[in-house]
Symmetry: D2
Subunit: 148 residues, 4 copies
């Protein structure tokens, strides 16, 4: 019942002409975080055949919200992205993320609303009980945006 | 006193493995819209020396919010991005955008909070009266997000 | 029987932390050039049902070669990419490109070897006579690389 | 005196609409390989103050050559990029790379010509003896391109 740290490698090509990670590239980093969680089960426990996005399910990004509080520079090592589930709806999940600056205060805060889709019908489908139980392992309170 | 259409070329590389414009790439398209407005004066009237981001000013993206309502496919021609100023603060501006789907209903709705910075001090600076007058030419009511 | 100029918009996100168009982003610009030629018939004459990549054909990039002679900065307007067919093989075509610097000398020279594929079999297929005639309209001598 | 394997994470956003790593994205992967070697000393021995690109030196990409022999799909784990120095000139170095397909045969072969620049003068500068010694540790025979 807690956020997890997902390590993501920033690339030099993510930097813009100011030498900071570009605002759009930041969403690509968060995409890699979601892949780690939903496809590869980071922080979850897939051994019981629960949550996982396979050929029968897909995810659709319905909404994103991101605050840029401080510039993120190029780090040599992968950066830890603090990641958790902040809401579970019938067919959707909110994922919250925080990337810290070097001084330990947040540089970026973000939220993605992910809708689970049935790939056959391409319609939203409900979360199963097994999925709720698995996502519960990385659930926590929603973050507070500064300017929402 | 109205929104403008800024034509932006989608690239094939913006598509993801589903054949849709990727969620992060969408923010790159909106970045090009802002460049057209702030740097090149699309919809503004720069002849009186008013608004414009030159060597003395820079813009910092403080926040973005984006809703993906329908997939955007690869179009041959540049797509019109409906763009307007939905709020002017002391040192910041909200830019709202809508990209329509082929059927004329919104496929994407977004908002960027842009903070004006003084490049010498790298601190926020107030909008001038000339800038407010210019941005007023492309001002309109804030859009309504579906899920905020 | 001559090269054509294909206008391509550089994006701010194509710049790297040095403020130059990134070396990999340059290949994305050339990809857009090929799409203009092969999919949309830039410089060709598609009215007789000749060359064109539709659902029955696809292109596979077999090889690329690119020389960076001068940095390419961010231009407001689309840049003309001089483009021509420098070789026609049985099932493949060489496309040559030059992007000029502001002083009119080449900043970038490149070549892509494109193989035509049959989408049903996903095997290379031979160029038709109609395609050879069409590509002949934008054919010219191969460029000379400085360091090959 | 041998090639090294540099592990590079492919991102989902590197895939194109065919589900393969995009041809231009491949050069971004190779950029990350060079950063690992030149900036962070992968395979080299920087303890004696030898090779390294710091504030006094920069690298300029003069030329790239890349062959795409098989599609590269999305792998969960970082892929090993076999990397070595195949030529040392007065002020430039050739870096060769091979990425293998799942069957162990090459999917991609590439070469980058890197020129060392003095950042003060922005002119090419000669490799030092210490740098030659260090780069010698990852030197090997040039690869053979299939179509050069």
């Amino acid at each position: 019942m807690a956020a997890i740290d997902v390590p993501i490698k920033v690339r030099w090509a993510d930097l813009d002409a100011y030498g900071h990670v570009n605002n759009a590239a930041m969403l690509t980093l968060l995409e890699e975080v979601r892949i780690a969680v939903f496809w590869h089960g980071a922080g979850l426990d897939n051994t019981d055949g629960g949550f996982g996005v396979d050929g029968e399910s897909a995810t659709f990004i319905a909404r994103q919200e991101i605050e840029y509080l401080k510039p993120v520079l190029y780090p040599q090592e992968p950066i830890p992205v603090r990641t958790w589930v902040s809401r579970m709806g019938g067919a959707s999940v909110d994922i919250d993320y925080v990337i810290d600056a070097a001084d330990g205060t947040p540089a970026v805060q973000a939220r993605t609303v992910v809708v689970l889709m049935d790939t056959a019908s391409m319609k939203p489908r409900r979360l199963t009980e097994a999925e709720r139980e698995q996502l519960g392992r990385i659930s926590d309170e929603p973050l507070t945006f500064r300017r929402s």
